[in-house]
């Protein structure tokens, strides 16, 4: 599998730079430890990990770009293409599946206007609605097995979701 990072450019604000510098102070022994946190704040700020992200973080931490790239391809939460304005994660794993997570995924896709004919997993691109409002991902265990099926929308967490009534989950997102 070849990974090509998008060649888009964003402006690094002073605020972002100081946020990164603050994080680096958490790792007095090795700056390299700050790679994951910097990838997180990059994705939170700019939406996805681009070629610029990979090079900027590497330079910041005095690493080679490959040291950053190998994490992007390893950790499932990092995406190399933009998601929708609101990113939905539906838990796929056993207890949620027993509680109906496959149906939930179908209904979420239907409600969000997403065509889901692609498998999830590493390298699978994120499924987006045509209007760019929502994107969806079928993820592994979200650790709330007692209240399945569960999903996350951005950082918000929803338990015991009723697939037939998604308005309380999706309704409030613009």
């Amino acid at each position: 599998m070849t990974i090509t990072l998008e060649d888009s450019q964003v402006e690094i604000t002073a605020e972002f730079e100081s946020q990164a510098d603050e994080i680096i102070t958490h790792y007095p022994v090795s700056k390299r430890s700050a790679t994951l946190p910097l990838l997180h704040i990059w994705q939170e700020t700019f939406g996805y990990i681009s070629d610029q992200a990979c090079h900027w973080i590497a330079a910041k931490l005095e690493l080679q770009p490959i040291n950053v790239l190998e994490l992007i391809t390893f950790y499932p939460m990092f995406r190399t293409a933009p998601a929708g304005r609101h990113h939905i994660r539906v838990c796929r794993t056993l207890s949620c599946a027993m509680a109906g997570s496959y149906k939930l995924l179908d209904k979420v896709c239907e409600a969000a206007g997403i065509d889901q004919h692609a498998s999830h997993g590493h390298g699978a691109h994120i499924l987006k609605s045509a209007d760019g409002k929502f994107s969806v991902e079928f993820v592994e265990c979200l650790a709330s097995c007692g209240t399945g099926p569960v999903c996350m929308v951005n950082d918000d967490f929803y338990e015991a979701v009723d697939p037939e009534n998604l308005d309380p989950v999706l309704g409030k997102y613009e």
Binding site: H26, Y27, P28, V29, S30, R32, S33, A34, T35, L36, P37, L39, H40, L61, L63, N67, E70, L71, F74, Y75, P76, M77, F78, R89, R92, T93, L94, S95, A97, M98, G121, H122, V139, E140, C141, L142, A143, S144, C145, G146, T147, G148, M152, D155, F157, E159
Partner: protein
């Protein structure tokens, strides 16, 4: 996140989860201090670190993350004359399917964890510690960061803690969706900013060579919370809770086909599987029968309803005895579950009733492990995917007669042949499902003949193409 309010079951003994689901309890410093918070830390700071370790050893508290290794013994691996910096990492990468206890501690009672962690750091002479929290808990990470800031403000953290001359700082480190980071050496690699490839051990366990090549203690969230309670009641009193060698309380996370799934905290070994399912969790749905239970997170070997187990023990005079017990009689503790060939693991109990298709269940589990294998060792990287592909094809009606044997053979060739315990974790489900539900797999796998091979892949055409 507000969890649904639930009154604890009368059989429960809430120690770690005392403040969970309380509407008058907020995850902030003020509430915690009003409830006597950080008193145990003050007490610990009047002792020598070695005395705290001694208390924890006496308590017999075993790791709550999965392996059940005695916490005090782990701490004892740090050499008393150690000159290198020592690190402690709280493993909050809760991701074993079926387990959801740490979520509630982090979200609703973060100071309990932090107090337990500071005491543990003091005991192990640690000046820098991290909480490695899974990436899927963004809110939990924020709550912990706020709680840590509050603790710094009160000088429970930072330089010269409460005037004792002890320095400690704790930082939150977020993972990014990889299950393997729950493995302690994978977690350490991840914290070093690398792919979470577990390290080979023995010879060097993290207590000898861990984070940044220095001695490191990795403890689960629940274990660290227990340390606070060991300080509160003393190691000897703590050891009286539960049964010998299985001390303290245990949070069991029940999910699947029961009427009242959820988390329940008991003295270890005080309930049996039958009591847990039928009394405490309200039994199965109307008209359903119990089919199987996975007792300790998805990697624990499955137990089949109706099975019997021969348990060896000793009578009052020390003579060997042998009892035959059923699934319902198994005590929910480390040793009893190990004795029936499974494990207490992380405390995640997944209950399945007679409507469940075991091939479907195993297929779901296999997909998880195929996705989460870190890819470092060939048997696991390839094998976990093969097992998933085989259960996939059985599900799709393309299974062949040999599939149950092939599955078992693949699983047998992963376990014990990998760097970390993921190899066992991904093969135990397949091994146990095939051993206990072979008929179901065989019946499904023989339904149809395999699809014909495309002509270009037939032997003759391949030979022709080569020649």
């Amino acid at each position: 996140m507000i969890a649904p309010v639930r009154i604890p079951h009368p059989r429960e003994k809430r120690m770690i989860f005392k403040n969970i689901d309380r509407h008058d309890y907020a995850p902030d410093m003020e509430t915690y201090l009003n409830e006597g918070g950080y008193e145990q830390l003050k007490k610990a700071l009047t002792l020598q670190p070695s005395e705290v370790v001694e208390e924890v050893k006496k308590s017999g508290v075993r790791g709550r993350g999965g392996a059940g290794f005695p916490c005090g013994v782990k701490w004892g691996f740090i050499r008393p004359d150690e000159k290198r910096p020592i690190y402690l990492i709280c493993n909050a990468d809760e991701s074993e399917p079926g387990t959801f206890k740490d979520r509630y501690i982090i979200h609703q009672d973060p100071h309990q964890l932090i107090e337990g962690m500071i005491i543990s750091c003091f005991a192990c002479r640690v000046n820098l510690a991290y909480i490695y929290i899974r990436g899927e808990f963004p809110e939990g990470a924020k709550i912990l960061e706020k709680a840590l800031a509050e603790a710094r403000e009160k000088n429970f953290l930072g330089k010269n803690i409460l005037g004792t001359g002890y320095d400690l700082d704790i930082f939150v480190h977020r993972g990014a969706g990889a299950y393997i980071c729950g493995e302690e050496t994978g977690l350490i690699e991840s914290l070093e900013g690398k792919r979470a490839y577990p390290r080979i051990k023995p010879p060097y366990f993290p207590a000898a060579i861990g984070l940044y090549q220095n001695p490191t203690i990795v403890n689960n969230v629940e274990t660290l919370c227990n340390v606070k309670h060991v300080m509160r009641i003393g190691g000897e009193e703590f050891a009286k809770l539960g049964t010998p060698n299985n001390t303290g309380t245990r949070i069991l996370c029940v999910s699947g086909d029961v009427m009242k799934p959820g988390y329940y905290e008991f003295e270890v070994g005080s309930v049996s599987m039958g009591e847990l399912i039928y009394d405490i969790c309200g039994g199965l749905k109307p008209g359903r029968k119990l089919k199987a239970v996975i007792p300790g997170g998805s990697s624990a070997k499955v137990l089949r309803a109706g099975e019997t187990y021969k348990i060896k023990g000793k009578d009052a005079d020390g003579n060997p005895t042998e009892n035959e017990i059923g699934l319902e009689d198994i005590r929910m503790d480390f040793d009893s579950l190990a004795a029936v060939g499974s494990m207490a693991g992380s405390g995640g109990v997944i209950v399945m009733d007679d409507t469940r298709d075991m091939v479907w269940v195993l297929n779901n589990i296999n997909e998880f492990y195929a996705h989460e294998s870190c890819g470092q060792c060939t048997p696991c990287r390839e094998g976990s995917l093969w097992m998933k592909k085989i259960t996939d094809r059985i599900m799709d009606g393309g299974g062949v007669l040999e599939d149950p044997d092939t599955l078992k053979s693949v699983a047998d060739n992963i376990a014990g042949k990998t760097i970390c315990a993921f190899g066992e974790a991904c093969s135990w489900p397949t091994q146990s499902f095939i051993a206990k539900f072979r008929d179901e797999f065989a019946a499904k796998a023989t339904k149809r003949v395999p699809a014909a091979t495309s002509p270009e892949f037939m032997r003759d055409s391949l030979v022709k193409a080569v020649s």
